[in-house]
Symmetry: C2
Subunit: 341 residues, 2 copies
């Protein structure tokens, strides 16, 4: 009787243990399936996984939206991010910072290139060592970086030209203040000029002047244009300091409200001039998009979630090589939502 | 004695059931934590969440890579996908299919536009009703769709021009066979012509001919060019049927290996001609990227994972408005990996 009872108990316990093991095994498998190396059912990394963003002039306000996007993507993906920057506008310093970051072998690096060439050797070496690298905001087209997340600057010039034409009623004389040594500014100027020439036969571009990327340089250039061509109807600055400089010049010459002014970017100086009505419009770049999708791209490279193998139509481009992060026109109507919180 | 044994058995069973329930509860909670509405630590949706891809000429091989990308993203995000297509090259039929899909209020829709205008009213209505819509492969720029995932066709023309110049040693006379009624083919032709004119002064574009998008039409156009200009050195087809048609013409005229031929796309007919050496190169579009990143964009819109609120630099563009999915040059060396499995 005892023997029967004992064997019965053992049977019951044995069955329970077997069922437990089955459940563990079942959930264990499901859990493993969530692991990215085995074929994920969710995009999730490890909090130990560190992605680094590398900048130049790291204290610029401009980067804040990009950093926020990078952080938001990290939160969604359960990974960590760090920010490293050269403090100066100095190519050598950025190379040194990037090399230090590469030496730590992070999960991935998003970098903005101070110029299109300086970082190429470091980027290419890191990519060859298997560290995923993407570019944001300022590209390095000849490097081996997998993708570039930034503004289509030629298209930004097109948007500026159409907004200028709208504000001028399709007719008038305009000038551009730019920074002719930098590729992104050349492209904005080209997009502006081409679009005016192609779409607005009654608008003429009188001059493209060098504002040297500075407020005072742009103020001087704008002043000279306003004095040389008293009938100029509109001014377009391809760069944030340019808009502020033009604003200064029209104020000094008592011309506020008499000229159409289009600026670039959404630094506080430019936004204030839009809000008070000195500048008619400025162009906001999709900075959050740059940061967010940079990390999304790096994560996909890191976890091998890209199609590169045989039968792969993307063999040459594991990630989309260019992501246009967009341009939004900011006017007095919507300016308030662009101030940093 | 029987009573004791029975109560003992009940106790063992009860304990087992309790432990089972505890485990269910524990794993159930872990599952819930992955739910995005509670603040995500992973990008994961619900398997009940259905995203739909809408195509035209749905039986075309060309869509297969795109569908694969869409499916792979769905697997990674734990959501479901469906495919709906007009079977014909018929704008009205695609509108009907799209309207049927919209009526079911899916989680999001990725659509390729048979022409840049036909679908705009349907797309705009759906977006206003809160259904996220993105475009892939063929865009509808004037619609309210949030983004376009596809080839930069002008750039594809540039890539073709540089490959042509490389194969010709920077010197010679060439012709283009295209489909002049379609925007993407106009852009490829323009990118090709502009790049030749800008970068290769010793190459001349003799003629741009209409292959009517058909194999026989392209064969006739190629034949005419080859007879009219016996010294023509290279031919570029902006479209898959064009490459196959040119291949047919050079074979008929006994000119295989004497002309440089660049095709487009990676249908079996074109790949076979590359493999045997009749066509020197063809251009593979990043089809997997189109499908994969379309779903990724829709998922982000659906779950509100985009920055659109106050202080948002992306106000005008919750998603990057254009994602260039890339072009890869396919030659005899790498052709094998492009055959569909």
């Amino acid at each position: 009787m005892r023997a029967v009872r004992r064997s019965l108990l053992i049977g019951v316990y044995g069955l329970s243990i077997l069922l437990f093991l089955l459940f563990f095994w079942y959930y264990g498998l499901r859990g493993q399936n969530r692991d990215l190396e085995e074929g994920p059912v969710a995009l999730a990394g490890d909090i130990q996984e560190v992605y680094v963003m590398v900048m130049f002039q790291s204290e610029l306000d401009y980067w804040r939206g990009i950093m926020k996007g990078f952080e938001d993507a990290a939160m969604n993906l359960n990974v960590s991010v760090e920010f490293r920057g050269a403090t100066q506008y100095d190519a050598h310093e950025e190379v040194v910072v990037l090399e230090q970051v590469i030496a730590k072998k992070p999960a991935g690096i998003a970098v903005t290139a101070i110029n299109p060439e300086a970082l190429n050797a470091s980027i290419d070496k890191a990519v060859q060592e298997g560290i995923p690298i993407v570019l944001f905001d300022s590209g390095a087209p000849a490097s081996k970086a997998y993708a570039f997340y930034g503004t289509d600057n030629y298209k930004a010039g097109t948007v500026a030209a159409r907004e200028m034409a709208r504000l001028l009623g399709g007719k008038g004389e305009v000038a551009v203040i730019t920074q002719p040594t930098q590729l992104n500014h050349q492209e904005r100027t080209e997009g502006f000029r081409d679009t005016i020439a192609r779409e607005f036969p009654d608008i003429r571009v009188l001059e493209v002047a060098d504002g040297k990327g500075e407020i005072m340089g742009s103020r001087d250039a704008a002043r000279e244009i306003l004095l040389k061509y008293p009938d100029v109807d509109g001014l377009f600055a391809t760069q944030a300091n340019g808009g502020v400089g033009i604003g200064m010049a029209v104020k000094e010459l008592g011309l506020v409200g008499q000229k159409v002014i289009i600026g670039f970017d959404i630094d506080k100086g430019t936004l204030d001039l839009v809000k008070e009505g000195t500048i008619n419009a400025t162009l906001a770049q999709g900075t959050w998009n740059m940061g967010y999708w940079s990390l999304m791209g790096l994560f996909h490279l890191r976890h091998g979630l890209v199609e590169t193998g045989e039968g792969g139509s993307n063999t040459g481009h594991p990630l989309p090589p260019f992501v246009d992060t967009g341009i939004t026109i900011v006017t007095q109507q919507n300016v308030d939502q662009f101030y940093a919180k």
